[in-house]
Amino acid sequence: MSSHKRHPIFSSYTFESNFLDEVFGGNGAIKPVYKTLLNIYGSYSIDDFTKLNEKAKASFFNQGITFQVYGNNQTKEKIFPYDLFPRIIDSKEWEHIEKGVLQRSKALNLFLWDIYHDQKIIKQGIVPKDLIYSSVNYLKQMIGYNPPGKIYNHISGTDLIKHSDGKYYVLEDNIRCPSGVSYVICNRTALKRALFGVFNQYKIQSVTEYSKNLLDILETVKPKGVDTPTTVVLTPGVFNSAYYEHSYLAKGMGVELVEGRDLFVKQGFVYMKTINGPKRVDVIYRRIDDAFIDPKVFNKDSLLGVPGLFKAYLRGNVCLANAPGTGVADDKAVYTYMPEIIKYYLDEDPILNNVHTYHCSRPDDLKFVMENIHNLVVKPVDEAGGYGVSIGNKLTIEEIEKVKAVIKENPRKYIAQPIMSLSTHSTYIESEKSFEPRHVDLRTYTLLGSNKDFVLKGGLTRVALQKGNLIVNSSQGGGSKDTWVLKN
């Protein structure tokens, strides 16, 4: 047994042979890249960690990175759980991830162009027509429209996991309004404040340049005839759970953070209401879903959007990022065709693996799913945030029957995948005052512009804080940790 196991802070650390641990090998030996970190941690007492944990938490409170919990009498603010043990990814491993996520983003962009134009991939029988037309996120209004710079998914968030075979698998592509990037940056800030000494021992890639790159990317897709575009971030408002992120990005880019009520459309152009009168807006990084951006075209009750915005967009007078209608491509059913999509548009083999997926819309797959639910994860194709996900081996017999009935009712809505063994990572567990293994995933952020792209060298490592839980989404009680990508 190595020395760290004797340290009281690791006293309750357990290993399970069917999961890969990011920090320790199967025999409990520390992986080389974590050695220095563990040596430093070894010199801290449990008391030290308790104090450091408080410091890190205070950092989040003071930075105002909180969300509201509504109680009986008053609303309380809480921080997203955060832990003191960073995840480390060495440069070689990162290179592989970076190439892989960029490849996927580019392929998805070409796929979107194709399905809103010639639909070659459908005509050639590679992707079934129904898959596209049955998706609520496929916008007929976008057919034939050329978005500025030919870019649809300016911002992509790719969710990856490391399976027990040591390989990365993509779980989801998020190309509507992927969130979380601000946490990458404030996790770093909080860890720096709490454990500054550790940073001298590693050469870590910086994550702070994301906003500047985002602005560069957004400015590459400015409307025709505009020299210096006015870019804004469109937020649903202060009560949105991602409001911190919206304000962070606006500040980072040095642009205005606007709400729908701050904008109006006149003669096909979009303006914001400033103290000195109307000012034209050219590029909108919108953090509002398609359904709410324009009550004249989509959800009529939407108070968040701007009447006439979509028309201004179709006229080419303003650019929206991401483009409306991208949601059709991050549908979990389209996901299953990603290897074919990459091959078709880029003529390359996928760099990152796809998890094998069963489509409940296919009779053979449906039969298999019905017989093997206990070994599968069942997911609705069009929900985000971990909602509606059933993990077969955690269900009772009655629950399995219920899930079966739900699938039967609308098979197109569900896919199933083998239960993936998300790797575990040492995580500081507040209630235990010790480090314990918890399941993690990794969300990366990729930007695509006209002749320009960028992958943030880092990512959001999300942690399922409950012991044994495999769902890492923050809406399901997940936390996150700082993620270090090492320099060469």
């Binding site: 105002g64 202060v238 606006a250 500040k251 953070l257």
Partner: protein, 314 residues
Amino acid sequence: MLARVANNLFWMGRYIERSEHIARYLCVNYFSSLDAPNIHSQSRQFVLESMMYMVGEPSAKGEKLKESDVLLNIGLNLDKSYSIINCVKLARENANSARDLISTELYEAINKFYHFVLNYSVEDFLKKGLYDFTTNVMEYTAILKAKIRTTLLYDEVFSIIKLGVNLDRATQTIRIINTKYNDIRMISEQDNSTIDVSLEWSTLLKCVESYDMMNRFQKSAPSTKNTLDFLILNNKCPRSVINSLEEMTNYVQVLSSEKNPPKDSAIFLVNKIYAEYKYKYIEEIEIDFQSFIENILDNLVKISTKLEDEYFNY
């Protein structure tokens, strides 16, 4: 800058300034009364009534005020619009909606302030924390104002915050003067003998952090006339109403590029009101002090309304 956000920043400035004045009023009045030389100034009821009058909720005649209720309502009762905790909460909410425009340093300072007030134990506050709480509030607001001055770009964002700060400073100073004026009137009404009311004027000066400098400037005991002259018309006194108005003329100028502002503009109005007080002397005010106070408060409201119409209600 967005009109909506400008409005929020204006109010952020106002609430920061307001929380400071209320905290100081609470602190100075409470502690100076403890060993006051005359029985009126020392009376608990008298001090509590003064506090309620200052925050704009004067007690009914003969109403018995309970110390813990008054302190709680003014300090930490979220249901009272005038409470310090509510001012800080609103300052922060306004900052929230503009956090992309203000510096991280300023935002963090506001946030720290908010958490300090929010987490302050009511029990501690009422039993032993009045001095600690109110002095901390004053210190936090001092930090905030330093952050405003030293971490923001000197552009319209800065100007709008400063407009809010100065407008509320002038308003609170006048309100405090009015309250003390009222206190003195009550003392005189209850006791016809010539009680020395200089303590109340000293308290007033301390409530606006101007006592020491008044001593240096006047070198005589504070009286109605010299105190009001100092706090309203003296441009050497940093908290004087005239100084707040002068600062407002500078900041409102930043919002417009017009060289000859029209008669119905905010710039014109602020300058006009400033000029009116700039050329006033104390003997004019002394004649009818009550009307003067009403008039100046009225003018300050006019400025606020004009700014709202012209810049915030696009």
